[in-house]
Amino acid sequence: MIDGDTRVLVQGITGRHGSFHTKLMLEYGTNVVAGVTPGKGGQEVHGVPVYDTVEEAVEETGAEASVVFVPAPAAPDAVMEAIEAGLDPIVVITEHIPAHDTMRFVELARWEGIRIIGPNTPGLIVPPERTKLGIMPHHVFTEGEVAVASRSGTLTYEIVQSMTEAGIGQSLCVGLGGDQIVGTTFIDFLEYVREDRRTEAVVLIGEIGGNAEELAAEYIVETDFPKPVVAYIAGRHAPPGKRMGHAGAIIERGAGTAESKIRALRRAGADVAEKPWEVPELLREYL
């Protein structure tokens, strides 16, 4: 998907979060070649040139992938600009984008064969390539053989840190995003890592709401997924009918409970951890 050479564009680079995380991405080793903020072309942020349009940035720097920090009102337009310019993947960090907007840009990206990660995601990190497109605190990650996908940001850091402390590194970690509609699902992730030579085992971090985990369990069974899967599901004690922070984290009409997800994953042969720090213990059996 991406490697250490991927030329990365940051949309919304002059904002508070865009600028701070551009610095951290550069420090980690990401090849950030350009930024875009309409009206601020010609400036520099941490030595990265800023352009007014994505088209210009791509022409001048050959940018290939994008990380979007643009605030919600303008974010859908920014994503469509990135799709138009053919950037792939497009990682949408922005929170609070209306679901209808997301639905439309995810559909447009599908037409173009472009991968959208997020919205409302901490992004994507590939420790063996020392590159990240997003906001993950890279010091908790280490190079290894386990691929992680998650619907939650900070809970991922928690689990990854416990893995790293136990000497279990990561081949790849993707935040799928906390919204109801996201561009990349657990199934897309499983499809990618099944062929990934670096990945020996997989961790899925889910939460209440929707049925993405149940569909992932079906995929594991139906396609005879060849790698061991360990999972953790947050929200076992969440009350029904209440939105737990993420737009997508809600038990509606009895559907989307943690029990249903845990049951489906266990039936598919996955090991489901009760506590975050049990994930490395369960992984150890396979590595």
Partner: protein, 358 residues
């Protein structure tokens, strides 16, 4: 998600040309009687509360004349239906029912596109209708629902052929409401086929997207807290960053023998003021300890620490702070200077909080 009241949902549908029963909104029994008089026939008096299955909860009453309409309104106004106080009732003519159908547009999370649902078995909760009796069509969100798709769905649902064009008009109107107001759900149940062969939307639900309401439909935006907050019934206040981590913290507190008092997610990039407001919000609850669990990413630990130390004079509830991630050392140092030894291990922090809560 914002659930509109029935009368609001029906107004949006009527604007798009969907027939609804004759009627009006009443805030007093007298108003209800006057509306019934104007309708001059049997009416139904419906509590306007944002919850489902009102009928089963006693929120829908029938009246044959204005006097009965007044009595029905008297009974409903001020009462509680599923915990919601009734402030208004909708008084509507009763329609002659030949058949009751179901039609809705909603977001299909798995497919990531809108889906049109049509069933000939309306008037009951759609969850109770067998799958094979519901026709489904996924809609391209860029193109929108097209007429032929709606007609085809109607025929698949075994809607009588001669009524398929009328159902198409209703479905397209629902889609316009769905699209224009950024809805998560636009549902008409039942869509009644009257004895005169007309279609009438007898009940309607419209759920809107909070983020879109805030950006584009301020008339429907609800005043929300600074942060996602859900009250639970325990005595351990919970503050964390990120929905998943907050849920996991609640699960851990429960598993280790404690009772969480709330869910509070300060989200990403919290500044000291937000942390301060979060602590003060939880302190309003009857809690014995507040557990703050922060794993910095976009959130910086030093900012969190500044927020924590800023409330120390106002809050005398013990604080258990777990702080790791971006700018971790700086955050720990700020807390230490104010006499707080932050935890780095989550299990230890949760155990400490459970212990202090007794």
């Amino acid at each position: 998600m914002i659930r509109l009241l029935e009368y609001q949902a029906k107004r949006l549908l009527r604007e798009q040309g969907v027939p609804i029963p004759e009627g009006d909104l009443a805030r007093t029994p007298e108003e209800a009687a006057r509306i019934a008089e104007r309708i001059d026939g049997p009416v139904v008096v419906k509590a306007q509360v944002p919850v489902g299955a009102r009928g089963k909860a006693g929120g829908v009453l029938f009246a044959d004349d204005p006097r009965e309409a007044r009595e029905a309104a008297e009974r409903l106004l001020g009462s509680k239906i599923r915990g919601e106080v009734v402030k208004q009732v909708l008084v509507e003519e009763r329609v002659d029912i030949e058949e009751e159908w179901y039609v809705s547009i909603t977001l299909d999370r798995a497919e990531r596109v809108p889906v049109l649902l049509v069933s000939r078995e309306g008037g009951v909760d759609i969850e109770e209708v067998p799958d094979e009796r519901i026709a489904r069509t996924h809609v391209d969100p860029v193109l929108g629902l097209r007429g032929f798709e709606a007609r085809r769905t109607a025929l698949e649902a075994e809607i009588p052929r001669r009524h398929a064009p009328a159902l198409e008009r209703v479905a397209l109107a629902l889609y316009r409401v769905f699209n224009e107001y950024d809805a998560h759900l636009v549902e008409v149940n039942p869509l009644v086929l009257t004895r005169d062969g007309e279609l009438v939307a007898v009940d309607a639900v419209v759920n809107l997207d909070e983020d879109a309401a805030y950006l584009r439909h301020p008339e429907f935006a609800e005043k929300t807290e600074d942060f996602p907050f859900v009250e639970l019934d325990g005595n351990i206040g919970i503050i964390a960053n990120g929905a998943g981590l907050t849920m996991a913290t609640i699960d851990l507190v429960k598993d280790l023998g404690g009772e969480p008092a709330n869910f509070l997610d300060v989200g990403g990039g919290a500044d000291p003021t937000l942390i301060k407001r979060a602590i003060l919000r939880v302190a309003e609850l009857d809690v014995d300890v507040i557990l703050i669990n922060i794993f910095g990413g976009i959130t910086r630990c030093d900012e969190v620490a500044k927020g924590v130390v800023s409330v120390l004079e106002d809050v005398d509830i013990p604080l258990v702070v777990r702080l790791v991630g971006t700018n971790e050392e700086e955050g720990q140092r700020i807390l230490r200077e104010h006499g707080i030894e932050a935890f780095t291990d989550l299990e230890e922090a949760v155990k400490k909080a459970v212990e202090l809560a007794g």
